[in-house]
């Protein structure tokens, strides 16, 4: 488990990429050659924390954890060298994401610097800049499409029947996914996590499945085994597995 100081850290990170960049820097890792197993292990600890802290971005951390697991699993597969074709390192995409994010993170500190520089200056805004106001109500400075949206939304809320909110269709729930995993474990005693993830197209299902596993781990419905470096997660029935 992670210490208290880690807790404080986590809220400072802007998301999973930010956290990964931190881990890479802290452990002086080579971004060209990220030791996926090691970083995944560290990362998972933070994911647990993100959930505990009910961080807004917990879902994004879970998704990244799933991505790391996928990379890890793919690195295990024997490389089938077909002719002269270069086989891409499964980590390349992650590396590119990290570098791309880093560019903008760096730029954002330049923005913070510009902000700091401009803060003390106040623009002159004339007290009554419009010669004759058309009526007594305030004149909006500069109308944007966003203002029109906001206004319409406001009007609907106030002058009409309450709008029925279009709730996003729930594709799958946590308990459904727990049931699904239980079903799979009934029929086969061992499940590969990487294979499991390959089945799912939707980001939401991946996330929910991952959470289901964590939930089942906590209730000891599953056991998760990992034989050290570069290993896939293997799920099997836990001591409290319900038939």
């Amino acid at each position: 488990m992670l210490s208290r100081s880690h807790r404080i850290d986590l809220e400072m990170f802007e998301g999973p990429l930010d956290l990964l960049l931190f881990l890479i820097k802290r452990d002086e890792l080579n971004i060209y050659d990220i030791p996926i197993a090691q970083i995944t292990k560290d990362f998972l600890g933070y994911v647990e924390l993100a959930k505990e802290l009910k961080l807004h971005s917990a879902g994004d951390f879970v998704l990244m954890a799933a991505t790391l697991m996928k990379i890890k699993a793919r690195m295990l597969l024997p490389v089938e060298a077909e002719g002269d074709e270069e086989v891409e390192d499964p980590r390349t995409e992650l590396m590119n994401m990290l570098l791309e994010y880093k560019r903008y993170k760096e730029a954002s500190s330049a923005f913070a610097e510009m902000e700091r520089h401009e803060r003390p200056h106040y623009y002159h805004i004339p007290v009554a800049f419009s010669p004759q106001q058309e009526d007594q109500t305030a004149i909006l400075e500069d109308v944007k499409l966003y203002d029109i949206m906001l206004t319409f939304q406001y009007l609907l809320k106030n002058f009409e029947e309450p709008v029925t909110h279009a709730v996003a269709v729930e594709e799958v729930t946590l308990s459904e996914q727990i049931g699904f995993l239980q079903g799979l474990l009934q029929s086969s005693p061992k499940l590969s996590f990487a294979n499991l993830l390959e089945r799912f197209e939707s980001r939401l299902i991946v996330v929910v499945t991952f959470l289901a596993i964590l939930e089942m781990l906590r209730n000891r419905q599953v056991k998760v085994k990992q034989s050290k470096l570069f290993d896939d997660l293997l799920l099997s029935r836990g001591s409290k597995f319900e038939n």
Binding site: H56, D142, Q153, L155
Partner: protein, 194 residues
Amino acid sequence: MIYFYPEGVNLKIDESKQIVEALLIASPEPLTEARFKAAMGEVKTKAPLKEIIDELQTEYESSNRSFFIKEVAGGFQIVTKAEYETYIKGLFTKSGKLRLSQAALETLAIVSYRQPVTRNDIEAIRGVSSDSSLRTLLDRKLLEIRGRDEGPGRALLYRTSSEFLQYFGLNSVKDLPKLREVEDILSEDQEELL
């Protein structure tokens, strides 16, 4: 002209004069004496506010500035001299920038999302008469009248103009942000994945 003050006093007056000026320039509303005092906090002015203002006033006059400090009911504010009004009006009428009252904005929002609509439709949602906002929006060419309602009254139908689309960089009315998208951005407690 050069005045000889005991050094300390001179500095103080000068400093507070500049602060008073900065406050006047930065404030979007007239400043009362109380608000000057509150903002200046520690700075003790050696002269009463009115004197400082007068001094600024004299400087503006002698250096031929086109603005002065006006005392209004609520306090002091910087305003332009009357002779420049014609140009300033030109700034607002010829600017191409959109400036609408809340009433006009509401009317525009309803027409954008519900077009074509009649005046009655608009007033039913807003709950108040919308004649003058409709007129403003027609004047500014943001709205146009297109045909009549099928209903018994054969009321005029309003819709947004092509200038409206152009101003907001839209290809067609269909490109307006959908209400669902608005809710996405606006929902405070976004649906958590957990």
